[in-house]
Structure formats: structure tokens, C-alpha cells
């Protein structure tokens, strides 16, 4: 899985600006797919004929968009005003490096030195709106020359191996599911006809998923994504949700949706039968594409699988190769057997 994750996480595509990612995947899957389509929201639909045909369409979905910002106008100071995708944590961006998507221009987000603020107040986190991208410009003209309004701004942390079997780097979290889907399309013959859907704008109200559901009207939905792991000393163990090293994750629910128990238990049985390590993902307070995809048309059964990822939403999310391998095996079994 390493090469898939490396190549996809290295592409730049913040929500609404997924073109590079979509075009790359479209080129790769064309020889393996029955049909390849896109839509106005930049979703990518890859249909692969199976041995049989299901009563209602099966969708296996993953998001393409990554954490980041869209650049606004340069300010008088030369810094670039920013508009964040949903769910960005201001703490995670302070003192971090960014680049203009697909470009060479680099910048950083920071707070002023405590030489200026004094010790008091250094624990107070500013609002995202108070932060801006510093590209080194000294005035508005310098800022305007460096970054055009509307460009995507993404974390600038390259893919790398980390510690004992981890992968790190920007968008390792966001493109983990897409990496699994790309490999499924290239390597697996589905039991039943399957729509592999790469969604756009998952981090802006799941807008890609909304129209994708209506286009296909699925009867079964499986989403593949990073499962945020809170298993660090900063967090109480009861709130860890999932643990790194404990295998692929099976979701229970998300904000606004409860996943289909029967489907989850079936996945758990398949995993047990094939010796794939799985764990329950308990603490999903946010919303995923799963909730959107199974509710926006006639209704569908839904399951969400993933791999535990620490430091989701930062420039350095990490995933362990064993967990990623477990996720790959589980996804493969689903497509081959369900």
C-alpha cells in the first residue's frame, strides 16, 4: 500500500480543487475500469463490471480532498488572508509550513513571538480567522505577486517513513481511502458490479457525496477512510476512539447517522474468518461521506471502514503499515465476497 499512499498523498487538492487528484486517478484506472465518469463537483465515478449484478447499485467510496485553505486577497501587511475547509483546528496550523497547491510558493502560519505578547496568553488559541499565510512579503504588492486569490493552500510535509513501520506526511489521512480504492480497481475482480466513487468536497459539507448519491442511488454503501485515533497521553483513554496497531476499523455511527449493524457484523465475520485484525471505531463525533451517501437518494445500507491514524488534520498524520494492510485486506474481501 505504501506506493499508493505515497503517490496519492503527494498530490495537492484541497476541497473544491481536486482536479489534479481526480485526473491522476482517472488516468490510472482507465485500463481497469468498465466506465470512468466525472461530474460538475469533480467527483470521479469508476464502474467495474463484476461476476454478477446486484439488485441495487453497490458503492465503495473514498474522498479525494485534503485539509487546507483557499487563499483570499493579500492583506496590507503582505500576508495572505485564508478561508479554511470545515473542521480545521487552529492549533494544528500554528508554526507550520504550507505551499500553494501544485506550486513552488511556500508560506507559514504563525502567531507573534512571546517577546511581544509576554508569557500570558501563549496558551490561548487564536481563531482561524485571525491567522494568515506569511509568504515573506513585506507589503500588499509582494503578497499579491506571490499568491493569487482562489488558489489552494496545503500542508508542505512530504511523505516519509516514520519510526517503526509508520508512514507520515500531508494528506496521508485524507487520501488513505482513495489509495485503497485505486488498488482495488487495479487488482480486484468484484463479485458484483461495483461503483468506485472518489468524492470531491468531503470537507465542505460533503457536497460531492450529496450529488454522487443522487446520481447512482446506491442500495449498499461502503466508505473507506482514515479513522481519527486519539491514543496519546493528551487524551483520556475513554476518548481514544481507535488505537494504532489494533487493525482496520469498523465504524458504529457518525454525527447524524447510525451505520447498518448487519453489514458491520458481516464485515467482522469475514475479517475473523480470514485472520484480519479489526477494531470498533467508537468515537466518531464528526460526519463522514457515509452519512451523506446512504441518505441522499432512496436510502442504502451503509458501513464505514478505515485504518487508525494519529494526528489527523495536521501536516504530519501517521498510519502504521500493519493497520493499512489490514484495511486493504478487509476492503478486498468486501469487494470479492459481498
Amino acid at each position: 500500500m505504501k506506493e499508493y499512499l505515497k503517490v496519492l498523498s503527494s498530490l495537492d487538492g484541497v476541497s473544491g480543487r481536486e482536479d489534479r487528484v481526480r485526473d491522476f486517478i482517472a488516468d490510472r484506472v482507465r485500463p481497469h475500469a468498465t466506465t470512468v465518469e466525472t461530474d460538475v463537483l469533480k467527483n470521479l465515478f469508476v464502474w467495474k463490471k463484476g461476476k454478477g449484478t446486484p439488485d441495487r447499485p453497490i458503492v465503495v467510496a473514498a474522498a479525494m480532498d485534503e485539509w487546507g485553505f483557499v487563499a483570499e486577497e493579500a492583506k496590507d501587511s503582505g500576508a495572505i488572508a485564508l478561508s479554511a475547509v470545515d473542521g480545521m483546528d487552529p492549533k494544528a496550523v500554528i508554526g507550520k509550513r504550507f505551499r500553494v497547491a501544485g506550486g513552488e510558493t511556500r508560506g507559514v502560519i504563525s502567531v507573534v513571538s512571546q517577546h511581544l505578547t509576554g508569557k500570558t496568553g501563549t496558551d490561548k488559541v487564536p481563531e482561524l480567522r485571525e491567522l494568515a499565510l506569511d509568504v515573506g512579503a513585506k507589503n500588499k504588492e509582494g503578497g499579491k505577486a506571490a499568491v493569487k486569490p482562489g488558489e489552494g493552500i496545503v500542508y508542505d510535509y512530504p511523505f516519509a517513513e516514520f519510526g517503526d513501520g509508520f508512514y507520515r506526511g500531508k494528506a496521508v489521512d485524507a487520501r488513505l481511502g482513495a489509495s485503497v480504492l485505486l488498488r482495488l480497481i487495479e487488482e480486484v475482480s468484484p463479485a458484483l458490479d461495483t461503483w468506485f466513487v472518489f468524492t470531491a468536497s468531503s470537507k465542505i459539507e460533503h457536497r460531492g457525496g450529496v450529488v454522487a448519491a443522487r446520481r447512482i442511488d446506491p442500495g449498499t454503501v461502503l466508505t473507506v477512510e482514515a479513522a481519527a485515533a486519539g491514543d496519546v497521553p493528551l487524551q483520556k483513554p475513554a476518548l481514544w476512539s481507535v488505537r494504532v496497531g489494533e487493525g482496520a476499523t469498523l465504524g458504529l455511527k457518525e454525527f447524524g447517522s447510525v451505520y447498518t449493524r448487519e453489514l458491520r457484523e458481516r464485515l467482522a465475520r469475514i475479517a475473523a474468518k480470514n485472520g484480519v485484525k479489526v477494531q470498533i471505531r467508537s468515537g466518531m463525533r464528526g460526519s463522514g461521506d457515509a452519512g451523506t451517501l446512504h441518505t441522499r437518494a432512496s436510502g442504502a445500507k451503509v458501513a464505514g471502514i478505515g485504518a487508525p491514524v494519529r494526528y489527523v488534520g495536521t501536516g504530519n498524520p501517521i498510519v502504521h503499515r500493519d493497520d493499512l494492510e489490514a484495511l486493504w485486506q478487509l476492503a478486498k474481501l468486501f469487494v470479492e465476497e459481498v
Binding site: K91, S110, V111, S113, V135, K138, Y311, G313
Partner: protein
């Protein structure tokens, strides 16, 4: 001299307060071609003399500090996370930061400062960050961490220097390695020039813990004038006071208790003559530079403070401008060339 490359080279080597020997060795190599005598003392202070050849010549010390901000491992948890001390760091800068831990055997292990994803945050960890709640993830098994890591290991920001737009550079440890680049820039210009005074270029240890390194050097060599080079806060989006120093605005000359107004005026004269843009900075009491310790070294030393603007000091994304490094180096060289014996005054009153 290629200022960008020299700064990259100097910031790629790690040297926190108390752990300066690697950085000192590199600086000694860089200044060696421009010096007549060079020494690194047991405190990791580098002293390099350019002699003028005149007996009993006056001595001018041009100083910047070699040490950078560093964290230190304080505890290893059962799960193999490393708790740490980070005095002088802004905890918000540390959240999710890329770091590197140097083991007792000198191995550099990359690490990530822990964060909790936004969707799993509850209560106080949403709005505040404090260092005592953070720890470092090395991605290693707990037993490996316990075998390799020792309480007291130094920990640094891991990122190397990055080029931004418009001549700006971004990275760690610019405070005060960028000032050392200015010194190298000046030393190269002065290499074959004849002067009326001896020059002592010094890169001194442990400024970030109060400046004992500079005090040791000044006490030992008793300069007739010491110029402390450091960085000052530059204007940025969140700090835009009308009087703030502009990035790229040129050297800043201190005036106050630690920075002799007479010598400040001399620097200003030289800058005007050389058409180097400059500004004065009022330093009524503490300059928070090595000048404070140098001034009371030995039987007292006349000091001056010279700086240039920097954004986000003590972070991993400090920003300086290449032109400020060059112009400050230029000013030091012109100042040395313009020195006259009578500038130094006398302690004899009648």
C-alpha cells in the same frame, strides 16, 4: 559570500544551550579563513582574532550567540511517549510540531509532538495548549524508546531552512545564527584590510540561558568595545504597530544603558556615509542580549547593541530577510574600517 547557503549550513547543525559543540565547530570552520588566531574554549565559545599588527592596539569584540532554543526529555511514559521541558517556547508553536531528539549516543530520532484530532477534542484541550500535556511520539515501540532515550536528551525543531518569496528565509535557530552570518559577511570583507584595532569575532554559548558564554569571553579578553548582535521583532500581519521595524528595513542600532549612545551615533554616521538604511531602537534598561552580561564582565566593558528585524522569534518558522543580514554585515565592516584610535576615549579624568 552566499548568505542563503551559509545560513542554511549554520541552521542545519543543531546546538542548543549547553549542547553547542557541533555548531561551534562549524562556525570555527567558517570563520577560520578570515582570522589570524582561532580557539574554541571548554564552554564551546568560539573566539577568532583579526590582528591589526599594532602593539597595545584597542580590541573590539563583535559577538553573536551560537546557541539555539532547545527542549529536553523529562520523562518516558509506559506507552513510550516522551514528555519534555520547553522553557521559552510558545506551546502553541509546539502542537503537532516536527522535532528531532538526539540520544546519548548521538542518534537523531525524528518525532512528532502529539495532537488530538478536532473530532475527538472535548473541554479544555480545544481552547488551550500547555506543554505539560504534550508529549513526543517517536513511532517506536515502548521498549525501544526506553532503551534509546534518556532523561535530559536534547530535542529540537526538525525542519530545515526554506526560501520564501521576496528574499525572505524561514526556519529555526535564525536567532542568532543569522547574526553570525552577518559577522562572517563582515569578516570576509575585512580579511585583507588594515585596521587600527584588533577585532575579536566571537560566537558565544548559552545566551538563551542568560549569557554566561559571552561573560566568560569578555572577562577573559577585556575588549575596549563589545558589539552584541542579535535579532529584534519585525512587523508582520499580527504585529503592525506604526513604529515596528520592517523586515528588509536594514540594521537596527540600539541606544540605551547597554548600548552606548556615543557608539550608536558612530554606527549611524557610518551607515549614512555608506547609504545603508538603519533605524535606532531605544533600549532603556535590559537589552535581552549578550550586551547585558558583557557590560559587567571584568572591570566593565563599553557595549553596543546591533540587531536586525525577524518575524516569529523562537519558533520553527522564524523569518529573516537576506538584505538585512548583508546590510548588517556591511555596516560592521564599514564601522571597523572607519575606527580611529581616538574614538575609544580614556578613563583618566584629570
Amino acid at each position: 559570500m552566499d548568505v542563503k547557503e551559509t545560513l542554511k549550513q549554520l541552521t542545519n547543525v543543531l546546538g542548543g544551550s549547553g549542547d553547542e559543540f557541533r555548531a561551534s565547530a562549524l562556525f570555527a570552520d567558517l570563520i577560520r579563513p578570515f582570522a589570524d588566531e582561532i580557539e574554541t574554549d571548554s564552554y564551546a565559545n568560539v573566539t577568532a582574532f583579526k590582528r591589526c599588527g599594532v602593539k597595545d592596539a584597542k580590541l573590539v569584540m563583535i559577538d553573536a550567540h551560537i546557541d539555539q532554543m532547545a527542549m529536553m526529555a523529562s520523562e518516558i511514559t509506559d506507552d513510550g511517549f516522551v514528555k519534555f521541558i520547553a522553557q521559552g517556547f510558545d506551546p502553541r508553536q509546539l502542537y503537532g510540531a516536527d522535532v528531532v531528539l538526539i540520544t546519548r549516543l548521538g542518534e537523531a530520532i525524528p518525532g512528532i509532538v502529539t495532537t488530538v484530532p478536532a473530532e475527538l477534542q472535548y473541554g479544555e484541550i480545544t481552547d488551550t495548549v500547555s506543554v505539560d500535556k504534550l508529549s513526543i511520539d517517536l513511532g517506536l515501540k515502548a521498549e525501544t524508546v526506553k532503551e534509546k532515550v534518556t532523561v535530559g536528551d536534547f530535542i529540537y525543531y526538525a525542519n530545515e531552512t526554506l526560501e520564501l518569496s521576496d528574499g525572505a528565509l524561514c526556519g529555526r535557530a535564525f536567532d542568532d545564527r543569522a547574526a553570525l552570518v552577518s559577522i562572517l559577511f563582515a569578516a570576509e570583507i575585512l580579511k585583507d584590510k588594515s585596521l587600527v584595532a584588533d577585532i575579536l569575532y566571537s560566537a558565544t554559548a548559552r545566551e538563551e540561558v542568560g549569557g554566561p558564554g559571552a561573560a566568560i569571553v569578555a572577562g577573559r579578553f577585556r575588549p575596549d568595545l563589545a558589539v552584541a548582535l542579535d535579532l529584534t521583532q519585525a512587523k508582520c500581519d499580527a504585529y503592525n504597530d506604526p513604529g515596528a521595524f520592517e523586515l528588509g528595513g536594514g540594521p537596527v542600532i540600539g541606544r540605551g544603558d547597554h548600548s552606548s549612545p556615543a557608539w550608536a551615533e558612530r554606527f549611524a554616521e557610518v551607515a549614512r556615509a555608506a547609504e545603508i538604511p538603519y533605524r535606532f531602537q531605544a533600549i532603556p534598561a535590559h537589552s535581552k542580549t549578550n550586551a547585558g552580561r558583557i557590560q559587567i564582565a571584568g572591570t566593565g566593558v563599553v557595549t553596543a547593541v546591533l540587531s536586525f528585524p525577524q518575524r516569529y522569534s523562537h519558533s520553527s518558522v522564524e523569518i529573516v530577510d537576506v538584505s538585512d543580514i548583508e546590510r548588517t554585515g556591511q555596516l560592521i565592516a564599514r564601522f571597523a574600517l572607519a575606527l580611529r584610535s581616538e574614538d575609544f576615549g580614556s578613563e583618566v579624568i584629570s
